[in-house]
């Protein structure tokens, strides 16, 4: 059935709703493009035969194929577009370096897109005020200046802005400035304790 392969791609996206990155389905995309080519060629042939050989009745076939072609195009673009959206969210989640398992799942071109996006975002952030402003910080409204955090994994030494070194070992609790440890909370190294 025409258009099934591309539907699979879209369904794949649907299933990975929770934001995980599935591997780029190179194979699927290629098959869709092949299908499109086949449909187009078929259409061309039909048009030629209608024009030259005067066969009628092929019009509905052409129309059907054209609709399929359009549908394939739309779905394929949607697939790509949504993947880009996920990659963009990853940048905001993880920072400018992606974890290895996510990187594996990107196609080369997606990775290039990511690099360019990174650069463009970085130059935008740099241009704000003097010295730039890191927009990926301060994701939640600050409730207090200092927060209590619990260390979930052995992270080793961690240096704060004013130079003090804190040793982050599993199952130790610390009371620090919120702005210093926000990124560690996002990474899952620390857990915010609300007493």
């Amino acid at each position: 059935m025409f258009g099934e392969k591309v539907l699979e791609l879209v369904q794949e996206l649907q299933r990975s709703r929770d934001g995980t990155m599935l591997p780029f389905n190179e194979d699927g995309v290629r098959k869709v493009l092949e299908e499109m080519k086949a449909l187009y060629d078929q259409n061309q042939a039909d048009v030629v035969s209608t024009r030259e050989e005067g066969q009628s009745g092929l019009f509905s076939g052409v129309q059907l194929r054209h609709t399929c072609l359009e549908r394939n195009q739309r779905c394929l673009l949607a697939y790509l577009h949504n993947r880009l959206a996920i990659i963009r969210n990853m940048r905001w989640e993880f920072g400018s370096v992606l974890p290895a398992d996510v990187k594996q799942n990107l196609s080369d071109q997606e990775f290039q897109w990511f690099t360019k996006y990174n650069k463009s975002l970085a130059s935008y952030m740099r241009s704000l005020g003097t010295g730039g402003l890191d927009l990926t910080q301060d994701r939640k409204p600050p409730k207090s200046l200092y927060i209590e955090v619990r260390c979930l994994v052995d992270h080793g030494e961690f240096e704060t802005e004013d130079g003090t070194i804190i040793v982050l070992k599993k199952n130790s609790q610390h009371f620090l400035q919120r702005s210093q440890c926000e990124h560690l909370i996002r990474q899952g190294v620390l857990e915010h304790i609300l007493s």
Binding site: L145, Y146, E148, R150, T164, I165, I166, V167, K169, K170, N171, S172, Q173, H174, F175, L176, Q177, I193, L194, S195
Partner: protein, 567 residues
């Protein structure tokens, strides 16, 4: 040295610095820690909090965090150990110790610079001059000695004689002083015991800074209660301290008669009442609670058939139907529930349970949550010493720390459930120990070995729990035994600790308190000496010197040595 003004000499010193807080594994320490944390949060003092289970942990954590550290606070750990010697810190590090373990190490007491003790000084501490001595005069003596030996001539001979006399006089005095010192030290360090609760010291600090609240007060109460429940202090001391806390309770929970002015039902109210010594009875059924509380179980001798019947008589005397007693307490008939405590007290007197009530505190917030200090202390302890294998010991410590907050009632409820399981295991074990007469008298003390095999034994791989079992057993045995002397004997109990490494946990408890005296525990030294004599592989890791770990194989020779030592 002892701090005189806890606010100026301790709190204000750490006010704008970073602090490392080391906390040991007991409920009193957890409560003190919570109070201190609340104070630090108020003043934005940055800290790092690490739980330490024993001496090895303590040393390790200090060395890990030692870089750039200037202030260390130790809660319920460190007073009995020579801090400077063991940790070898830099010169700019100051230690603040808030520990209820006694005896305090004398080097800590008399150190002027780096060690500050937050406890109050005690009379039993020997004076400085009796223990430490500047050795200058001795050196002179020795030098004089060396040069004197070579060339005697007339004048010098006379000179020599004078010098000799003086030297001999000095030496005699020195020996006298040494002997006196030795005796003092021996007496001072012979017995281990406990001082004021760390939580109360912290609460006192909070009060002096006018930052005390009902929550902090409640934690101080729980800390004190834990000391009573683990028999670290006796009833008299407890009553004195509780009265002291009651003043604060009255101050915070003052409610006039005007109903309109009363505060929201969700705020915490603490009240001071006479409480039954029945463990967890509000969260359990009356019947179960009577069976598992050590006071009632031992006095009614519930492991015997006769005792069991007596229990039923007791309940009948109270006037409460048996089916109600076996119901969950909260589900009991309303009319009965209100009166049951009075009936219980009346009946108790007839059955020889005069001391069934004890004044204590309970806290109430919201309509659902009413907790008695005893129950909370049991619950927190059960969480702290949980033997489930999901988390590490430190993980459970942090959970116990969390459960004291009002927003974590569900954790406390879980702790109470764990506590019930602990009680059941304890009663079952006591029953089997007595049935099979496994409590053996060695003349000067009693001992019992818990064998592995039953699923209950895993609960006793923890020091506080094993201690509770030991006290229960001792009480039960004393009540059972016809031997008058049994009353004065202490008990040593071992339980399997770790099957893989083949170690045992050994706990020694003092004899039952006679005439309301708090008993002294001499097992710390005894264990040490017995171990040395037999070169057994023992580990004196716990801050409590009467708790040690030992290898299975060394048990028999260790006990032989112990017996010969103590007879």
């Amino acid at each position: 040295m002892f701090v005189t003004d806890i606010r100026k000499d301790f709190y204000e010193k750490v006010l704008h610095k970073r602090v490392l807080v080391l906390v040991s594994f007991d409920v009193d320490a957890i409560c003190a820690c919570k109070i201190l944390k609340a104070l630090f949060h108020c003043d934005s003092v940055q800290y790092t909090l690490v739980p330490v289970a024993g001496k090895m942990d303590w040393e390790r954590v200090f060395s890990e965090h030692a870089e750039q550290l200037e202030f260390v606070v130790m809660i319920n750990c460190g007073a009995t150990l020579d801090i400077l010697e063991t940790l070898q810190p830099e010169e700019n590090v100051t230690f603040f110790v808030c520990d209820s373990h006694r005896p305090m190490d004398l080097v800590n007491v008399y150190n002027d610079t780096q060690v500050k003790l937050l406890m109050s000084p005690e009379e039993s501490i020997p004076k400085y001059e009796d223990i430490f001595r500047d050795d200058e005069s001795d050196d002179e003596d020795d030098i004089g000695n060396d040069s004197d030996g070579s060339e005697p001539n007339g004048k010098r001979r006379r000179f020599d004689e004078d010098v000799l006399e003086r030297r001999m006089e000095r030496r005699r005095k020195r020996r006298e002083w040494d002997g006196h010192r030795h005796q003092l030290l021996f007496d001072y360090e012979e017995f281990s015991g406990y001082g004021q609760s760390a939580a109360m010291i912290m609460y006192d600090l909070a009060w002096k800074m006018s930052k005390d609240t009902n929550d902090l007060l409640w934690w101080a109460i729980v800390g004190l209660t834990d000391q009573l429940l683990s028999k670290k202090i006796d009833r008299e001391t407890y009553v004195l301290e509780a009265t002291e806390l009651n003043r604060h309770v009255a101050r915070h929970n003052h409610r006039g008669d005007e109903e309109e002015d009363s505060v929201s039902i969700n705020s915490m109210r603490i009240s001071f009442t006479s409480e039954l010594q029945l463990a967890l009875y509000r969260h359990w059924s009356l019947f179960e609670s009577l069976r598992h509380s050590s006071y009632t179980a031992c006095n009614l001798k519930l492991w015997t058939l006769k005792g069991f019947k007596k229990l039923h008589e007791f309940l009948a005397d109270m006037g409460v139907p048996l089916s109600e007693c076996k119901q969950k307490f909260s589900a009991m008939d309303m009319g009965l529930k209100d009166n049951v405590t009075d009936w219980l007290v009346t009946s108790a007197r007839k059955f020889g349970l005069e001391q069934i009530t004890l004044s204590s505190f309970h806290a109430q917030y919201g309509f659902k949550n009413k907790f008695c200090a005893f129950d909370v202390a049991y619950g927190v302890n059960a969480l702290l010493e949980s033997v489930e294998t999901e988390k590490s010991q430190e993980g459970y410590f942090l959970e116990a720390l969390d459960c004291l907050s009002r927003s974590n009632i569900d954790k406390l409820a879980h702790g109470l459930e764990l506590s019930k399981r602990q009680f059941r295991a304890t009663v079952n074990t006591v029953q089997s120990l007595l049935d099979m007469t496994q409590v053996i008298s060695a003349g000067s003390f009693l001992y019992a070995f818990i064998q592995e095999g039953t699923p209950d034994t895993r609960y006793f791989a923890r020091p506080n729990c094993l201690g509770m079992l030991a006290r229960f057993t001792l009480e039960a045995y004393v009540k059972m035994s016809k031997n008058r002397k049994a009353r004065t004997l202490p008990l040593v109990m071992t339980a399997p600790l770790n099957l893989e490494t083949g170690t045992l946990l050994v706990v020694g408890i003092p004899p039952l308190p006679e005439l309301e005296q708090s008993s002294k525990n001499f097992f710390g030294r005894a264990f040490e000496q017995a171990g040395k004599k037999t070169s057994s592989r023992i580990l004196h890791d716990n801050f409590d010197s009467s708790v040690i770990e030992m290898k299975n194989e060394d048990r028999s020779k260790f006990f032989d040595a112990l017996i010969s030592l103590l007879t």
